[in-house]
Symmetry: C2
Subunit: 348 residues, 2 copies
DNA sequence: CCACGGTACTATACCGGTACAGACATTCGC
DNA sequence: GCGAATGTCTGTACCGGTATAGTACCGTGG
């Protein structure tokens, strides 16, 4: 038994194939009566509706947009910030009915996702701009929007003011009187060039500390997780009290939580003996003990605006606006930071 | 300027279009020298590689699988359990290089995602079996796997032993001596038929309580969140002490946390004045105060196995095995449950 | 010298739709 | 009563590839 196509139905009803196509895709092009007859015949014959792949080819649109993440996607779902970003995208996308296709940046076998999967455009999030995967997307001349990474000329790009936020965080500590400060950053061992946000936050911290004449202790967390933060904290918490940092600037809230836990393990009191500042303002940040001082970014807005930019680019191809937007960040002061000094000092 | 296609290159090199196609897709079909010449010409002419949509049509495969969630996707990313499921899927899928396309179940305008988006198969998670969206997938005769929902004949289905887990939870409370028990379940107002997992967990609880001759207090949480749990708890915490439940079975860990919070708001001590049991064993469950007794399900395994089943179904179409698997659940007893009685009682 | 198997490439026939420009009959404005 | 607008359907020309069955040529063994 051969497959049921438009032609099968056209023959059965006795009209042209084009008319059947219109019955499905452009109801206003034919009389209601004929349309009903066609649809009824279609159902009777077990027609499933226009074949998506064929339609995608003919129309030049597949109804999905791609999402490219560098990090193993697997982890992104479990990271609140990445998940909120995804959530915002799906929310913004819902009204259009488009699907979102998550792409692996690593090609396996002869299937290179960014080269071989049909899509109408893509969001590139936190990838190295020179990655092979991104290259394919560009070669395909797809509408693209870059988020949280080095801006690319000719494409709309959306970034968060990581540097400004980091500056505010560092300034906060300096103003409180801290002079010995540790930076817990996040470098992938594999990657030579570290991610854009890592660089920007680092830049922000350093610029303030430089101005204040402070040389920070820099340590690397192997991931943006509590455990990695906990492990990273060992190196500077082990220093003799005189040289031990009195404050920490962490790349993320999760790392910050790990650092606070490490301090607690040594019976150190946060913030009196160690002030800690995170980044992102995750939902849990206000429920940590003590509540975490951090730099807020509007992740939801980031996702929504990125999606809107992409939809606009898909709408008017060619009109690629070189829109480079920067979303603001905001220091949120909670209880994990204070002037340096032992707890007793405050009772004097 | 017209677009560069296989033909453009074929003409430029002076070979047939088929040979150019082979140069890209089946390198072993032509001599290395000619292949190099073709690829070089392709690059020079700005050819982007075989068009994915055209290839999908010709090969009958698009390189992606679909994921259909009932609930607004937007929320799923923010729910740890759903996110872990997604994470497992992406992990299992990575080696194959396939993309995963998240589908909205609500069609907007004339674009019905489950009907119009190209894909090679789909995972249906926690949807009403009769939903229109699922219907389209079935009409398309796509390989499907159903997860966490009413099994469908003729398709591989994967479920978790929700009922057994719920029974174990209820049995635990009954064994501890509780006689006044509240059930906090999760019904969508909109949906007439509640979700399968909701029904199964409810069934499990009730079957044990019935056997014990206990008539539970049943309340509904408007969502699977802490806030909804907190709100739902009011109704039974407000009862006079003599009639107030001494224990709660909650649909999810998040709801359970909300219930514990509501108890704390009234200076009630968990577990002595109120025992609480959750469901799922989310990561945070062991860090709540007190650590939460709950029913563990292996979410990662659920995602991985579902994906494997789907890949198998895509591999051998027609060989649709009516595999109905049930993953085990396990009661994890922590500190949020104890025998009923005021704190003082334990000091006697 | 010829059947035979392999390599390298080509010819033809799809895959299943949509866009666009008519063809033909009706209806409408004036 | 006539040209124009409207409504309904058809014909043709793509969209950009892949599968499969050849054809031509070459070396080999008998």
């Amino acid at each position: 038994m051969t497959r049921v196509t438009l032609q099968t139905i056209a023959d059965a009803v006795g009209v042209s194939r084009m008319t059947v196509s219109n019955a499905f895709s452009r109801p206003d092009q034919l009389s209601g009566e004929l349309r009903d007859r066609i649809l009824e015949t279609a159902t009777r014959l077990g027609y499933t509706g226009p074949d998506p792949a064929a339609r995608a080819l003919a129309k030049g649109s597949s109804g999905t947009i791609g999402l490219l993440f560098t990090d193993h996607l697997e982890e992104s779902f479990l990271d609140e910030i990445a998940a909120r970003f995804l959530s915002a995208i799906s929310g913004e996308l819902a009204p259009s009915g488009r699907g979102m296709t998550l792409l692996s940046s690593h090609s396996k076998g002869d299937l290179v996702p960014t080269r071989d999967i049909p899509m109408d455009g893509a969001l590139v999030y936190n990838c190295g701009a020179e990655s092979e995967a991104v290259d394919w997307l560009r070669r395909r001349k797809l509408p693209l929007v870059f988020v949280d990474q080095e801006p690319v000329r000719g494409y709309p790009c959306l970034n968060v003011d990581d540097r400004g936020g980091a500056r505010a965080a560092a300034q906060h500590l300096v103003s409180l009187g801290h002079r010995r400060i540790a930076l817990v950053t996040r470098l992938d061992d594999e990657r030579v060039a570290s991610s854009y946000t890592v660089t920007r936050r680092m830049d922000g911290w350093r610029s303030v500390l430089d101005e204040a004449g402070i040389e920070p202790v820099v340590v690397n967390a192997s991931a943006s997780t509590e455990d990695a933060g906990h492990a990273a904290a060992q190196s500077f918490l082990d220093l003799p009290a005189k040289r031990r940092p009195t404050a920490v600037l962490a790349y993320s809230d999760r790392i910050a939580v790990g650092v606070m836990q490490a301090a607690r393990d040594r019976d150190m009191v946060v913030p009196e003996e160690l002030s800690v500042v995170g980044f992102d303002d995750a939902f849990f940040a206000e429920h940590t003990r003590p509540p975490l001082t951090t730099v807020r970014q509007d992740v939801h807005r980031k996702g929504a605006e990125a999606t809107a930019l992409l939809m606009a680019a898909i709408g008017q191809p060619g009109a690629q606006r070189t829109d480079h937007r920067l979303l603001p960040t905001e220091l949120v002061v909670r209880a994990s930071t204070s002037r340096p000094g032992r707890p007793q000092a405050t009772h004097r």
